[in-house]
Each structure stands twice: as structure tokens, then as C-alpha cells.
Symmetry: C2
Subunit: 357 residues, 2 copies
């Protein structure tokens, strides 16, 4: 009997359902070869659900999601500026709530320029790096507040919280990953000349853990300088480890230089296994193009490859990446007009020809 | 009798003195035509001074600098990792101290791709935008702290402080600037879906001030999305207004896409005139290439143009920009081997030919 993986599926808003449909199609196509079956539970969450019921994420939803083996999320968020969503903050109440509640302390975001994909950079070189973004601390903790709101004396504060516990566990993960790769290079990105307390903690932690990984070469860049290298020499990076906010900024930039956020996948991972990990494309719900079958499902499909890696099924993950690479290499101006479903179908076809060859 | 402008000059460390020498050369070349004289007071500040005396910036230094009409700064900071500088933090103790003490609430950073300059972007388009970075608030305030340092229970916090007073004044400056430009476009960059309290303050302030500028078109981008447009369509921007940290990150990226941080100028401005404004290249002290006469003085020279603008001498500023544009357009592979002084000399020569023609 094949292993059953219980998958919570959150298609979400906008283009989310369209790209998730293709990701599931691809997942089901590789499952038999990996001798697994995916048992899927759909969760209707996001702006649409909020508008229908007033709920963003109930305790029951959360408990039910948490009882699964893994989560696939499309994208959440309504039309920007929709007055009915003014008080919802779907991002904080749903996406960040899941990351924090399920202790997704590693936000894994690989960046590759696939052969045949056009980068906006004139000479990007061979780009293949992974940003290990901390997922449960930093300025994302929601410890802000404001007084005298709406008066000329308003003060609004945001607190970035960083702990030895939280920094060390993600730094260890990053070193393990660096150590498993051919180049074995790790770059800490922070702003320790300005954010001296948190920067100091990150720096000391990296230096301490580095002694246990003598084969890993370590360096440091301020976040502002890192953005320069992202456009002048992105090939220099192997593993980047950084805080939640810097990681957010750098990975959108990484998506852009590698040919577009439509190809950028991510995993919100709890490496202890205490809670299910969650996989999602880096892109948003793009309500302006929703329902038109023009969204590229590749980021969602590559996110499913990360899911398979995390579930201990690296061969199945590699099959997907190989098929995606083939599809991207074969894209022409004409194939740019394929529907979302046609891209998914093409990748499924490539998957079956992999088996034949 | 010509107007005397009293200029505090802080050459600083590394390549600072070399690029400042050229900037002063250019300043003195345009001064007679503008009927002004620059009376310069040098201040020896930076890592070298700290190593010699143990001082970063004394109260006397600060008072004396503050008594000038304007400040020109090269770059400060010693060799990274120098153990003797471990406790100095020249950035916080000198550069940020000056910005905060002299209430430089506008950090003005223009980005242009000059004709003939190669961008790392394949198709940058016509790039000409200005980042108006807030200079006295946000995560830069130094309101961080840590407890249980060095133990597994360490907690390091950083507080971003944002006030209605501080946000409104920089937003007004940005609207004025946008209103004075042909495209009249202003983009607020923040991360208001995560940093909800400060983001809310920025958003409300921009929306309120916008009602007084009916001709200025306003939009909003999350900082992560902004980095995408910086590489896919930087020509879309006119004026960007943003907080201290986002502005720091975006302006290094802007420098990179416009052909290198060696061309990026900046002004730390107190528009009230209560304290002198300070002009500096965006680049650092680059100790690795110091004293070799290979640094490009263009960023420092363009910073002097910003100084002239701020001193109410826009014609002199334009003369410098025209000469720099001519120098950049005429650069060839061969001219890349000019010394720092030769670049300054070439720009001075172009300045005098402007008068002749
Ligand atoms: C939607 C938003 C809260 C989120 C983030 O900032 O983490 C997104 O930008 C991302 O990178 O996944
Ligand atoms: C040196 C550093 C403190 C400074 C900053 O972060 O503001 C620099 O990066 C800049 O942009 O001027």
C-alpha cells in the first residue's frame, strides 16, 4: 500500500485557484511513481471567504490545517483598496498567522535562472542561490503600536524581536544546506552597522555556528550592498541567510532578476516536523488577471517540488524540476499565449516522456 | 563683494579624501561664475581620527560643524573587521549622529542613467527619479536593546519610531518636489501590510497631503514589489518617498542599476535651514582601493551640485551636471584608467569650455 500524504490545500484568492489546480495536476502525475497518494482537503480561505462570512482564519480552521502533513497555498488577498477589506488584513490574519502558528521558522526561497529564461540583467551569469529567510521573528512579529492616532502628535512604533533561540535554529538550517551544496558558501545579510543589537546577535550566532562547519566559507553583506550584487553579480551567491524583512525584500528582487516572480517558489518550513510545512508561490493573488487563465502556474508547480523534497521524496521533486526546465527551455513567443491549464498540461506531458526515455 | 559660503569639509577615511579633493576642485571652478566664495574648514573625523585620539565626534566638533553653512563629507569607516574599531561604530557615532543632530530629515538621492553609461539592466529605459528618504526616524533611531546577551536566552530588539511630525514634513517636501517636475508623480514605498502601524501613518499622511497637490499623481508600492520594478521598469518612477531603512536599501539598488554606486550622489538636507545640510556620495570609504587614485570622484562631484542647488545656486549646479554628463558620455575603455585627479581635471576643463561656447 502506498504512503498517504494528507495535504491541506488553500487555493485562496485571485489567480490562486488557477495556479493551484495546475500544481495539483502535476503533483498527482508524479505521485504514483513515488508510490505515494495525496489526500487533499480544500480550505476556502482568503478575501472571498472573509467577504462571505467575516472570518479570516478561525481556530477550527487552524486546528484542522495543522492536522495535515503539508499545506499548499495559492495566494491570498483581495483587490487592493477594496473598502470592504479595510479591516481584514488578510496578509497578517491569514498568511502570517499560519507561518507563526505553525512555527515556519525557515522560509526557503531558491533562485535559479533556468536555461532559456530571459533575465532583465544584461549579463546575469550562472545564478543558483537559495535565500534562507527567517520566518517567525524580526519586524514581522506584530509588536507594533501607535498612540495619539490621527493627531499631529501621533507616534507609531514597530518592534523587531530577535532571539538567540530563533536566530540560531535558522542559521543552523542554513549552514546544513550550505554544507550539502558543491560551493559551500554562506552569506549573512543584515544591517549591523545600524541595527546594532539584532545585527550583533546574528553576527555572533553565525560566527559561533561556523566553527562547527569548517568547510563552509562565510561572509557578510549589509542588505543595501547585497542588492547591488543582486544586479551586478548574482552568480556570486550560494546560500544567503537573513532576517524576515530583509529576506522578503531580497527574494522579490531575486525573483525579478531570475526572470520574474511567476517562476519563484517558496517553502515555509518547520524542520522539526512539529507542524506541517506550507508551500506557496512567492507571487500574490493578482486580482487584475484572475479568472483569465493567463497566470503562469510555474511558481506554484515549483513550490510542489519543494514540498516533495521536504516530504523526503527528492526523486519526484527532481522529476518536476526537470519537466519545468524542459518546458521553460521550449517556450517561445508563441507559447507565451498558452493558458494556465495548458502550461500545466505541457509539464505533465513532459513528466510522462521522462518515464519513457 | 561675492557671497561667502562657509563650508565644513569632512574628507574622512579611505577614498574619502581623494574624491573630496576633486569635488572641491570642481566647486572652486564654478564659484567665481556664481559670484560666491567657499571658505572651507577641514574636519579630521572618521576611523583614522578615532584610532589616533579615541574620539568619534566631540561636542566641540559638532558645534563647530553646525556653525557652517553647509557640509561636504567624503566617506567614513575603517577597514571592515579591524579589531581596533570594534567598539567605535563610526557609522552610528559620526555619520548618523550628524544626520540626527543636524535634523537632516530629507535624504535626497537622485538616480539618472547618464547617456553613455552602461547599466547592468539589458533595457533600463529612460531612468530619472529621486528617492526622498526620511532621515531622522524609522529603525535608524537607535532605540534598540538586548537582554541576556551571549546566553541562549538572548533577546535583541530594535524599535522603529515614526511620528506624524516626522512623516508629514518629509512627505510635504516630496510632494513639493514632485509638483516641480514635469511628470508630477509620487510613489509611497512602505510595507504597510506587515508594518501596519507605521505603514498606516505613512499612508494616511500621504493621502492627506495629496489633497493639497491635485496635480500630483500618487501611488503606493510595497518595498518588495518596488525592488522588482527597479529592475524591470525603473523608468516608471518619478519621486519615491519612503522611510529611512527602505530608502537606504532602494538607493543602493538605484545606484547599481544606474551604472554604479560611483555615480550616486546624495544630500542630507534640513529644509528649514536651522542647521547646515550635508552632501556626500552614497558610496563608502572603500579602504581596499584607498590612496591608489583609482576611485571615481563623480559621485562626490555630483553631490557638490546638490549642495549648490540647496544653496540657491541652480545655474552653477547645472553647469556641473552638464560637465559630468559630457565627461561620462566621452568615457571609453581607455578613460577608465584615468586617475581620480584626472577625472576631476577633465570635468574642470569641460566647465571652462562651457563658458567659451
Ligand atoms: C504578503 C506578505 C505578507 C508576504 C511577506 O511579506 O512575507 C509576501 O510578500 C511574501 O514574501 O511572502
Ligand atoms: C553607512 C550607513 C550608516 C549609511 C546608511 O545606512 O544610511 C549608508 O548606507 C548610506 O546609505 O548612507
Amino acid at each position: 500500500m502506498s504512503r498517504v500524504i494528507r495535504l491541506a490545500v488553500i487555493p485562496g484568492d485571485g489567480i490562486g485557484p488557477e495556479v493551484v489546480a495546475e500544481a495539483l495536476k502535476v503533483l498527482d502525475a508524479v505521485a504514483p511513481g513515488a508510490d505515494v497518494t495525496f489526500e487533499k482537503t480544500p480550505f476556502e480561505l482568503g478575501a472571498a471567504r472573509f467577504l462571505a462570512t467575516g472570518d479570516v482564519l478561525t481556530d477550527d480552521d487552524l486546528a484542522s490545517i495543522a492536522s495535515h502533513d503539508a499545506i499548499l497555498l495559492g495566494a491570498v488577498g483581495g483587490v487592493p483598496g477594496d473598502p470592504r477589506l479595510k479591516d481584514a488584513n488578510i496578509e497578517r490574519g491569514l498568511l502570517l498567522k499560519l507561518r507563526f502558528a505553525l512555527d515556519h521558522y525557515v522560509n526557503l526561497r531558491p533562485t535559479t535562472i533556468f536555461p532559456g529564461v530571459t533575465s532583465p540583467l544584461a549579463n546575469p551569469g550562472e545564478v543558483d542561490f537559495v535565500v534562507v529567510r527567517e520566518g517567525t521573528e524580526g519586524p514581522y512579529v506584530g509588536n507594533g503600536g501607535a498612540i495619539r492616532v490621527g493627531t499631529p502628535h501621533e507616534i507609531a512604533n514597530e518592534v523587531s524581536v530577535n532571539t538567540a533561540f530563533g536566530v540560531e535554529r535558522v542559521v543552523r538550517f542554513a549552514f546544513d544546506l550550505a554544507n550539502s551544496r558543491p560551493r559551500k558558501k554562506l552569506t549573512l545579510v543584515h544591517k549591523n552597522n545600524v541595527l546594532v543589537f539584532s545585527g550583533n546577535l546574528w553576527m555572533r550566532t553565525v560566527n559561533a555556528v561556523a566553527t562547527e562547519y569548517p568547510d563552509v566559507a562565510v561572509d557578510y553583506l549589509h542588505v543595501d550592498a547585497a542588492t547591488i550584487f543582486f544586479v551586478t553579480n548574482p552568480a556570486k551567491f550560494d546560500i544567503i541567510v537573513t532576517d524576515n524583512l530583509f529576506g522578503d525584500i531580497l527574494t522579490d528582487l531575486a525573483g525579478a532578476i531570475s526572470g520574474g516572480i511567476g517562476l519563484a517558489s517558496s517553502g515555509n518550513i518547520n524542520p522539526t516536523g512539529a507542524f506541517p510545512s506550507m508551500f506557496e508561490p512567492v507571487h500574490g493573488s493578482a486580482p487584475d488577471i484572475a479568472g483569465q487563465q493567463i497566470a503562469d502556474p510555474t511558481a506554484a508547480i515549483l513550490s510542489v517540488a519543494l514540498l516533495l523534497d521536504q516530504q523526503g521524496l527528492p526523486e519526484a521533486a527532481t522529476r518536476i524540476r526537470t519537466a519545468v526546465t524542459g518546458d521553460l527551455a521550449g517556450r517561445t513567443a508563441a507559447s507565451g499565449s498558452r493558458t494556465t491549464a495548458e502550461v500545466g498540461d505541457a509539464i505533465v506531458t513532459l513528466l510522462s516522456s521522462e518515464l519513457v526515455s
